[in-house]
């Protein structure tokens, strides 16, 4: 075996993969290349060959360990459930604060009109403070928009990760689903408040539901 041939072979195999798949060469495919090169190392080996072999072996182990750790993170769940749920919650925060601010302004305008009618300057001064304070909704809305933008960026990265690991993610997901008991799932589902407005029951609906047990 030519001791200096292996690294060149490794690079050329990765290059071939890049030509075939563009920049989206999966980690599994890189590991496959490393493993196949290692499998070709046999017979008399030189000191350089051994060093190359050890390096490749170390790369293969590193990739395997990284794969296992990433799969344990369940990026598929993060992409499909947690990130979209977080975005929905933020949207709900913006909507709820907007409505609340509108109600505060309604009340402040009425108080202001009444204060003006009665010629009470102190009322007017305090109403101005309410108007000023209500601008928080604009600022928090902009901040939340930035966070939602960051979540979308993370979602794109996680999407690439899921794409790179493909089948292994599915296997992990199925194993996890099987390991969780039905009781735990049910109890967890009871702790997801507050619900989004589109999903929540109104008080009248809850009253009706309770009444239906009588």
């Amino acid at each position: 075996m030519n001791g200096s041939a292996q690294p060149i072979d490794f690079e050329s195999r990765v290059e071939e993969l890049k030509k075939e798949r563009g920049d989206h060469v999966s980690i599994a495919e890189v590991a496959e290349v490393v493993e196949s090169i290692m499998a070709t190392i046999e017979g008399d080996v030189t000191g350089l060959d051994l060093r190359v072999y050890k390096e490749l072996d170390s790369i293969a182990h590193y990739i395997q360990a990284a794969k296992s750790e990433i799969v344990e993170l369940c990026p598929d769940d993060i992409r499909e459930q947690h990130l979209p749920a977080a975005s929905d919650e933020f949207d709900a925060i913006v909507k709820a604060t907007e409505e609340a601010t509108g109600n505060i302004l309604d009340a402040a305008e009425k108080i202001d009109n009444e204060g003006n009618r009665l010629g009470l300057k102190e009322i007017s001064d305090q109403v101005i403070r309410i108007f000023e304070a209500c601008s928080f909704q604009d600022i928090t809305g902009q901040r939340i928009s930035k966070v939602v933008g960051t979540l979308k960026h993370i979602e794109e990265r996680v999407d690439r990760l899921v794409h790179a690991f493909g089948a292994q993610m599915q296997g992990k997901k199925m194993r996890q689903e099987q390991s969780e008991s039905a009781t735990e799932d049910w109890e967890k589902s009871l702790l997801s408040s507050p619900q989004l407005p589109t999903e929540a029951n109104k008080q009248a609906e809850i009253d009706a539901l309770l009444a239906s047990f009588d």
């Binding site: 907007e98 601010t101 509108g102 302004l105 402040a108 305008e109 202001d112 007017s124 101005i128 108007f131 000023e132 209500c134 601008s135 928080f136 909704q137 604009d138 600022i139 809305g141 902009q142």
Partner: protein, 128 residues
Amino acid sequence: MAVDKSMPILIVDDYKTMLRIIRNLLGQLELNNVEEATDGASALEKMRNTDFGLVISDWNMEPMTGLQLLREVRGDDKLKNTPFIMITAESKTENVIAAKEAGVSNYIVKPFNAETLRSKLVSVLGDF
């Protein structure tokens, strides 16, 4: 010269709550002839139909930003002399410089209070 309090003022912001707050604060200063626009394009259209004595605009809007609106205004022979105040949460130095270079009359950082608004109006329009 005292400011004519009946002059028309255009306020531009994509947050309707913010438009309402600015309108109310202007009302406290007895500036009640206020029109609203929720984006840059409709603001320009309103400006071409009405001779506003002042424009108060947000920066962070889509698709036309407040800065783009300001450039459009300053690039239009009929509108270019209209006083233009930017009210924005963008407080970075480069933002202020960009607005100044585009011809902004004054710049208010959110969150702001009534006194800040009043002092900037005085700075742009004179005492009232």
